[in-house]
Amino acid sequence: MAAQRIRQLFEMADEIFKQDPMMSKRYVYLARRMGMRHRVRIPAELKRRVCKECGAYLVPGANCRVRIKNNMIITMCMDCEHLMRKPFSKTGI
């Protein structure tokens, strides 16, 4: 049930982001706390939507910048200017 609630909170964070980015930050905070309490991982596709420094919900084009450089996905949070780097390999080509 914890995993389901985490997904729900992220969905709501996405919905409310246009009107109130601070509220979506709060939802992400609640979701992360729920994962920590019940030892449930936050799914990988949602994990990269959160800034590791300030915990903001990131929406490409609104408050984050996504670039590919040296086989790495580099996400920059425009609120705190923190860089998140995630390497990937060219397998399957």
Partner: protein, 109 residues
């Protein structure tokens, strides 16, 4: 697990439509809206006009509108009246809170 009247107190409350039906503070009775935030002791409810009201959970009864899914008859409305004292804990701790049977009966269907 789908949201049902039985597991409402362990489930996510943010996002549900609710109404304050009973309270020790008479001016709060009748407040209707969407729950947008939750803390240990309070729920904040957004009214239709856009105002937000912060309401204490204790000494208050809430009437929640559950979203209708495939499981129930389409178009039917399911409302659950919950004593706010059952919700008195932090949102991430509510999953595992246990109550005695006598207290559980206070959830009216």
């Amino acid at each position: 697990m789908q949201l049902s009247p039985g597991n409402l107190i362990h489930h996510e409350i943010i996002g549900l439509e609710t109404e304050v039906v009973d309270s020790s503070n008479f001016s709060q009775i009748g407040i209707k809206g969407k729950v947008i935030d939750e803390t240990k002791n309070t729920l904040s409810i957004q009214l239709e006009k856009g105002l937000t009201k912060i309401i204490a959970k204790s000494h208050t009864h809430f009437l929640f509108n559950l979203p209708t899914g495939r499981r129930y008859l389409p178009g039917s409305r399911i409302q659950v009246k919950v004593d706010g004292t059952l919700l008195l804990s932090q949102p991430e701790n509510r999953i595992q809170t246990k109550f005695k049977k006598s207290i559980r009966r206070r959830i009216d269907l």
